[in-house]
Symmetry: C2
Subunit: 398 residues, 2 copies
DNA sequence: TTGGTCCTTGTAAACGCTTACATTCTCGGC
DNA sequence: GCCGAGAATGTAAGCGTTTACAAGGACCAA
């Protein structure tokens, strides 16, 4: 291994001078600079990152912890796992920011079976992995649902940490999330106001999922705000295609008049519903409208293409990264919850005319203040520039 | 920051003892061990990764360098960029291996505009990024086409390095790649032998792409080996949906009898071809058969579902990682090119009956020895276990 | 008791870098 | 030719670990 000493002795200077040349810091005479540069080049010297970190007292590395589906074999890499793309895109957002600042990105996947279930006991495997990780980074970005709140808080006390797409009710931790509530609200209003749908059937997500909760609450608010509108039934699915299909089959089996629209808590379940309806010979959107949520890639491919809500996933990564870097710089900064605006994507499954998708920016709607959480340090709703320039539900062709 | 010294003084021992407890190395009396563990826990001590790396003289980190498409905005995250999933899946393979050995994974994306074009001058941006990276890792995994061969060789001399899916003609560097040749050969044989197609039209990839070259060569060999079979025309596309569509439109515009089949160098172009044919009212596979390559996710969704060749992408990551770890352990090891077997995925676009995809393992076919490269250090073709148990083109239902 | 073994623990020297501070040059003004 | 100010360079003290080696204790046999 080539070290500073090797370069120094080759160039006939001290290691301090080599270091100065390397970073262009102190003043170095031009001819020495040239001599040293030559030595560096000839020896192929590359500074040792570990030694630099130690001496500078910072690692210039930030860690990203993603939740990975468990036991997924390569050939099962199907629509269910498309949600994997969530972290892939988050990662790209993070990486873009990281790079601008000359930092590095350390990635860890946590398997589903490691992360779910009861709050992990102290010293469990996830806890241990996280500890080890934290010795190698300046700060941590953690995806939703990876750690139980108390464990999260514990780690956050020890090191800079930002949660991505977490439970927005949780306080005292930096968090960046998509504005599920406003998205779901806009979607419901589109169905009810624009398309005059009155009788809705709700294919809900799991009760444990915080984003499902936000979407559910928004739907209810819109329904309440529009007299004559009613949720004729709810099926609690598991965010999978199969459960969307099952829920729809059960709805059909129950008989009675069809509802006007099926509101699905995510795209996968909407796709499942589409399958079930097609099998029953029911036409979408003529006989019944369907909407999803998330705008996963296949949403634009199915028949009819799905009206849904797009999440700014990559931006989630960027913002979370910005926040983390800010916190590393100032550990005393107040914690914040930042909600990013979503976007309505109108395709034809809701009854809109076929053709290219139309997109609507969604103006963030201040959430009902959660009764039990008045002490939230700060809430940033939406993002200045984007929110400011968008009037309520403008339609923009792209 | 809590250090070894803090723990040591709290437990009333020396730092050496704390270190021993931490790693369970030397003998430590039970009661001291307990005392030290308690101190560690109470103080929330986490060893500093940089200091450990420095003292141990290894980083326990490996780097993965991926090529990212440039200027891709979030809402353009469409089928063209599905190839991004390539690295996402490679990454998961790598991560799986990394984790088993308690290493960490450092990720860097290189943008297309940084990586393409003429061999980069010394000290260019990519070179600089790579240098910096290499100070932080024990070894590097580099994706195809990121560095010009000579630059690659230069870096490989300086540190352990394995190329993923690179130009298989290049020698002297460790490389793990999918067996494009055997895959393309099997696909062509399926069309010609099993379906009796005789007149093929080839929608080829860019001349600069090494995998396109491998596929092209295999197609030609199969055609030559089957008298009466002919490639009636070739269109050189750019691996995009649009170019597949354009190539097909040009074929149709030329008039004359339709060929029996369209052999596309990747799935994206096959999908473009499908669009063009549908627009012209030509039925697939009744009027013409189509096959793609890569088995990207949407290949199973289009109409008709695409017959194609599946690449073991995740395994690519795993093998490359294994190889890298081996090289780190033994830098003097001979370099190897490892080709992983591909898999034929039979759906209905080739004329096979509709229904669930059938998959065929592909027995690796030794490649024609490239005339100009006899000095290849070693060639491993296929993978022992898989290759051994599969007779020529067995059909396996899954 | 004494000497010799183990077992346990402590001491101190790396590891390769950054950087505060000390030292040596260089050079213009007198 | 000398002085002083700045510029250029060198010296050395960390940074937080690991680990070779030394040293101290406990215990047993003689």
């Amino acid at each position: 291994m080539v070290t500073l000493y090797d370069v120094a002795s080759r160039a006939g200077v001290s290691i301090a001078t080599v270091s100065r040349v390397l970073h262009g810091h102190g003043a170095v005479r031009e001819d020495t600079r040239v001599r040293v540069s030559a030595a560096i080049e000839e020896l192929g010297y590359v500074p040792d990152g570990a030694a630099q970190s130690l001496a500078r007292n910072r690692k210039d590395v930030i860690g990203l912890v993603c939740a990975e589906h468990s036991g997924l074999k390569p050939d099962q890499y199907d629509i269910e796992s498309m949600s994997l793309m969530f972290y892939d895109e988050v990662m790209r957002g993070v990486e873009a920011r990281i790079r601008e600042r000359n930092l590095s990105l350390l990635i860890t996947f946590l398997r589903e079976d490691e992360t779910l279930g009861a709050p992990e006991p102290e010293g469990g495997p996830v806890d241990a992995r996280l500890r080890e990780l934290s010795g190698k980074v300046d700060g941590l970005l953690i995806g939703e649902g990876i750690l139980a709140p108390h464990a999260l808080a514990k780690h956050a006390r020890r090191m800079p940490l930002v949660v991505i797409a977490g439970d927005t009710a949780q306080k005292g931790t930096d968090m960046v999330s998509a504005d599920n509530g406003s998205g779901a609200r806009a979607l419901a209003e589109h169905l009810i106001v624009d398309h005059g749908k009155r009788r809705l059937f709700h294919i809900d997500g799991p009760v444990t999922a915080p984003d499902a909760a936000a979407r559910r609450m928004a739907l209810q608010e819109v329904v309440e705000a529009n007299p004559g509108t009613v949720v004729v039934g709810t099926y609690t699915g598991r965010f999978s295609v199969a459960s969307g299909q099952a829920g729809t089959e059960r709805l059909l089996a129950a008989g009675g008049p069809l509802p006007d629209a099926l509101v699905c808590a995510n795209d996968q379940m909407a796709i499942g519903a589409l399958h079930a309806l097609a099998a029953a010979g029911i036409r979408v959107p003529q006989d019944i409208a369907i909407v999803g949520f998330d705008d996963i890639f296949p949403a634009s491919l199915c028949d009819p293409p799905l009206t849904t809500v797009h999440q700014p996933i990559r931006m989630l990564g960027e913002r979370a990264c910005d926040r983390l870097i800010a916190r590393i710089a100032d550990p005393a900064m107040r914690t914040k919850l930042e909600l990013l605006p979503t976007e309505l994507v109108l395709r034809s499954s809701c009854g809109c005319p076929p053709g290219p998708a139309r997109r609507r920016e969604i103006k963030p709607v201040p959430r009902r203040k959660p009764a039990a959480a008045p002490a939230l340090a700060a809430v940033t709703v939406g993002v200045g520039a984007v929110a400011a320039k968008s009037p309520l539900l403008p339609t923009t062709e792209r």
